[in-house]
Symmetry: C2
Subunit: 305 residues, 2 copies
DNA sequence: CTGAAAGCGCTTACAG
DNA sequence: CTGAAAGCGCTTACAG
């Protein structure tokens, strides 16, 4: 075809709003260049951000992404996968879903996959997650630098990541010679659960600690609310550090010190992992840890008097 | 084919994890039975919920949905639409994106569409949104029933829905004979903006109002935070009502009275509208208003002394 | 009712 | 380099 003819064709195509039919293309070429993503709970701010960044990043790397938002149980996640497979996606990005390891493994052996949000040492799948040991360590180091010794940890119980956070807390405390000050109260990743822990802390027989490192921001808000009601000033009397860096944490009136989970980087690394695997299927499985960043705000920055 | 043969085929198909190729089906039948959804900001809890419910509801009605998460500008929304059109979706669900009316109209005239989150009287498109006049009315009625007269409104400025909320507030105040008590401070849908309004209210020369109706929960949290710092007890000294019913609002330590925007119903009505239009293309354009529900919690329920 | 054939809109390998 | 032909995996209309 002469280039002049080509130009005319392209012009008309544009005028008619022509878009190549992806179905025909996919059928003819026997492959697709889009990905699927399964999100456990878009209502969770971190997951929503990861999903959004992943979609943007994948698109930028030439893989538009079909997102499935209804996967808050493992059954639904499997159903979502079936639908994505029917669309013949090239691979899938799993964002905190499914939950059980066998369900994850089952998906991983059917289609190239990457899991964002858990380490998954045992399952044979690429994974990317935040280094919670490093996160907890940075919090303890910061609080010690503020002069604190009695640093209590409100742990996340059996929630994903909580165990590694506890490990980091304990190791850092020991490194600072604070073995005797190690103290953990278990909670969950919610405001009410944090408030419950707060009541244990402030209404108990033990003296109020100098600082509290809480497993996530919502629970930290619960702790702070209880402190406020008891007339215990934060940070003057007790310093509080959260985890996640949700939107509310940075607001002027709360000003909560916290550990930022880098949603953008998690998404970017996850997408890169799967894109790389699609291009080089024999790549060994990778387990990536992303370093979180300590965000110091007012809630943890009052010198000890 | 004998039914016995059919049964054997189906059995083998299941064993081989056979999934019909949607691309081939779409190509052969010249139509698709899935929808597209464009979400402005999944990071917003209400939008995330609407998106999730819409995906669930559409799937239930036989239209699996491809969600596009990267549409926080009108240009990106248009780009997302192009991608959805390439997938030959049957219709699209617009969730607070795009923003400008011409951009919305442009999409509506290319493909069956429904807009969730704005009334859009002028644009020729099905729409579903919360009835903010009714929401504001229910708040004022509730506060008046609590014995309040000096009810201040922190408005949402030029944000979507804010004008109708102001209308509802004014009309309800007038109906209660409280014309002289009408007082509005403009803010935006954020905690910091609410805190700014809170400083105007509590540090100003005017007496603190008996109640404050804030345009959204985040801004209400800002107002309450400032009150707490000034030692002004909520609800004993001032009653506060928010809007949206975000997750944090119901937590025990905040217990914020608010107006629930029914994400589920918005999603369901939106999906029904587009599914109906796909089956009956000549249906007249519908503009649906969904009634919100007042949620009374502690922040607004202290009798006047 | 059953089964073989045509065709959807592309890509790809191949003949010219 | 260019262009015609075959074929991707389904659905549909049609002949038997």
């Amino acid at each position: 075809m002469r280039s002049e003819t080509r130009a005319r064709v392209e012009k008309v195509a544009r005028e008619l709003n022509y878009r190549p039919n992806l179905a025909a293309r996919s059928l003819a070429s026997a492959r697709t260049s889009y990905l699927g993503a399964i999100v456990g709970d878009v209502t969770n701010p971190l997951q929503a951000q990861i999903a959004r960044f992943a979609a943007i990043e994948a698109e930028a790397q030439g893989y538009p992404t079909i997102v499935s938002l209804d996967a808050d149980t493992d059954e639904k996640a499997e159903h979502a996968l079936e639908s994505l497979l029917a669309h013949r996606v090239a691979g899938v990005i799993l964002i905190e879903s499914p939950y059980e390891k066998p369900a994850i493994a089952k998906i991983a052996q059917r289609i190239p996959s990457v899991y964002i949000g858990r380490l998954l040492k045992i399952v044979d799948i690429d994974s990317v997650t935040t280094d919670h040991v490093a996160g907890a360590t940075s919090v303890v180091d910061h609080l010690v630098a503020q002069g604190c010794r009695r640093i209590l940890h409100v742990g996340g119980g059996a929630s994903p990541g909580a165990e590694r956070m506890r490990q980091g807390y304990r190791a850092a405390m020991e490194r600072h010679g604070l073995n005797d000050e190690i103290s953990i109260i278990e909670a969950a990743y919610t405001v009410d659960s944090g408030a419950q822990a707060g009541r244990e802390i402030f209404d108990g027989v033990r003296p109020v600690p100098e600082a509290i490192f809480v497993c996530n921001d919502l629970a930290a808000i619960g702790v702070i609310n209880v402190a406020a009601r008891r007339g215990i000033p934060v940070p003057d009397r007790v310093r509080v550090v959260g985890y996640d860096d949700v939107m509310l944490a940075g607001t002027e009136t709360l000003s909560l010190s916290t550990v930022n989970q880098p949603a953008h980087e998690l998404a970017r690394k996850g997408v890169s992992a799967i894109v790389h695997r699609l291009k080089h299927p024999e790549t060994p499985v990778s387990k990536q840890l992303v370093a979180p960043e300590l965000i110091v705000r007012r809630s943890s920055t009052s010198p000890l008097s």
